[in-house]
Amino acid sequence: MRIELEKRAQASGLFTLVSPILALVLTLVFGGLMFWALGKDPLFALYSFFIAPLTEVWSLHELAIKAAPLILIAVGLSVCYRSNNWNIGAEGQFTVGAICGSIIPVTFYEWQSPLLLPLMMITGMIGGALYAAIPALLKTRFNTNEILTSLMLVYIAQFTLDYLVRGPWRDPQGFNFPQTREFVTEGILPAIWEDSGRAHWGFVFALVAAVGVWFMMRFTLKGFEVTVLGQSERAGRFAGFSSRGMVWFSMLFSGALAGLAGIAEVSGSINHLQPSISPGYGFTAIIVAFLGRLNPLGIIVAGLVLALTYLGGEGAQLAIGVSDKVARVFQGLLLFFVLSCDTLIYYKVRIVLAKARGSAAGGVQ
């Protein structure tokens, strides 16, 4: 048995829509099998993982809290990946954004002013952008692979945060716990609807960023430049676009959004710095970007789906007694299925049973 691919003349419109859904269904089927193998009732497990969190108002708020950083980061990454710049260190830019955004509320901890929050968000974005500037500089100046450098910087960022909250920034009244002072009320991102739950304005930032980038990619010259340089650097050069400039633009842009996600998360839902501020949002956002087909509007949906896996993981831990690591397995499986289903968009897949050539025996046309 052999699988043969035949390139389609043009991308299949049908499969562009069907493939993410197919990927989700396949993930659910495999997830069900996994629960069954763990000795759980697969249907009840899937229910408590993916449906139960959607049945209560407070958990919808939690969903928005978890989706916000995922969407913000993934929207930035989509610009990177579309232009063929492989920034996979968003987790580090998220961390540095959180650190830089916290400089003012931690060092001037008594300063109460309506200016505080905007300043925090801006310093957070600058921090994330500067941290992403390192791999951009190394790529443009020294030709260094941005995949490896941006990833190494993740570890360095995490050690820096760890140093700060255990060392110079530790709360003097905090009973030696490794965390900073709580931010003053003016430094806390407010809830959107305070009466029903704690979802904060980070989610609004995420939606605005997604719609903004969608507009940029669809209607502006910059968006066209991103697409052209990503598909063919040579063609881009003939059009007068600079591929170095694009490295800078995409890395700084995605770094700034990851930085904003970092400070919004810390300010809106943690309210202080601590050694661990993210359950791997920066890496999960890579999955979000691909599941959303690198389209900002698709990313909103994908961000909500992946946020659901986090939330479901926590819920399932209580309801059916499986570990929260199941969430990571789901996320990995999902990315695999998304990537393989995308093949259907660009290729006709034929499964050849006999040895003789050309004897197509069924398959997806």
Binding site: E4, L138, N145, L148, M152, F159, G167, V326, R328, L339
Partner: protein
């Protein structure tokens, strides 16, 4: 004595880097970029620990590690080679899935005592002063890593099959026209890389720290990927690079123990910072990078029918 002890730990820290980087080197020489080294390594680590724990035999653990890495890499091979998915994204998927799956599998092993792979004496040689205990009283994986360096070098540069593999990595379409089985060769190269990463993972959970800790590979797979670039796709240079990194890792641990006034976190970040510095040093000369990089690295190939 202290020098001896330090050298011993350097060897133990370097061996997993060398083994996994060698595997990735062969994969990349065939033109395939597998960023899933970290995922395959951690799968190898958990499989090796589990098998050794259940059978009591560290050798069985080692074999389980190799098998786990190879089987796991098959997933990557199927997607990138048969379904021609994006290699960068698929490699990342392999890492994410590996970290999740290993955490799930290893949950019941957390905190349990592991089985240590014993050191092997080489009769006669291990009695030599100084050199003996350092080089000839090691576990089998150290010897294996050296054999692998020699073997991979011989295979790539002295054997006919190795020449074909390099041809496939440089120009898959010409190789295909000449009648070489590009896809099959790439499958085998990816699986060799997976087996090596699995073995490196086995070294972590059977020798380096004989226990299971979640995420215990802690970025070593990524450092191995950087080592391949650092070694400009040549086995002996990869060996040298591996030992350089092993020395940095061990050096910072000793510096932490002696307390040299720097915060521990900065010392812990040192191996990662060193990776960046080394990458800059090696890639700033565009021409040497171009000459050494397999020409089709990371590019998908669909054979004409």
């Amino acid at each position: 004595m202290i020098v001896e002890a330090i050298l011993l730990t350097v060897i133990t820290a370097s061996t997993p880097l060398v083994i996994s980087a060698l595997g990735e080197l062969v994969t990349e020489r065939a033109g395939v970029l597998n960023l899933g080294v970290e995922g395959m390594m951690i799968m190898g680590a958990v499989a090796a620990f589990a098998a050794a724990q259940m059978t009591g035999s560290p050798l069985t653990g080692m074999i389980a590690g190799i098998a786990a890495g190879a089987v796991f890499s098959l997933l990557f091979a199927f997607l990138t080679l048969t379904l021609v998915t994006n290699q960068v994204a698929t490699g990342l998927a392999l890492t994410i899935l590996g970290l999740g799956l290993s955490g799930q599998i290893g949950e019941s092993f957390v905190g349990q005592p592991g089985v240590r792979l014993p050191a092997l004496n080489i009769p006669g040689l291990s009695d030599l002063p100084f050199v003996g205990p350092v080089l000839f009283h090691q576990d089998i994986l150290f010897y294996l890593s050296i054999v692998l360096v020699i073997g991979v070098h011989w295979f790539l540069f002295k054997s006919r099959t190795g020449l074909m593999l390099r041809a496939i990595g440089d120009s898959p379409s010409s190789a295909h026209t000449l009648g070489l089985k590009v896809i099959r060769a790439r499958y085998l190269a990816v699986m060799f890389g997976g087996a090596c990463s699995g073995l490196a993972g086995a070294q972590l959970s059977l020798v380096y720290t004989p226990q299971w800790v979640e995420n215990m590979s802690s970025g070593r797979g990524w450092i191995a990927l950087a080592l391949v670039v650092f070694g400009s796709w040549r086995p002996w240079r990869v060996l040298a690079g591996g030992y350089l990194f092993g020395a940095v890792t061990v050096g910072q641990l000793h510096a932490q123990a002696f307390g040299i006034g720097l915060p521990a976190q900065f010392l812990s970040a040192l191996p990662y910072a060193a990776t960046i510095v080394v990458l800059i040093a090696i890639s700033h000369n565009r021409r040497t990078t171009l000459i050494n990089t397999p020409a089709s690295l990371g590019k998908p190939f669909v054979p004409d029918r």
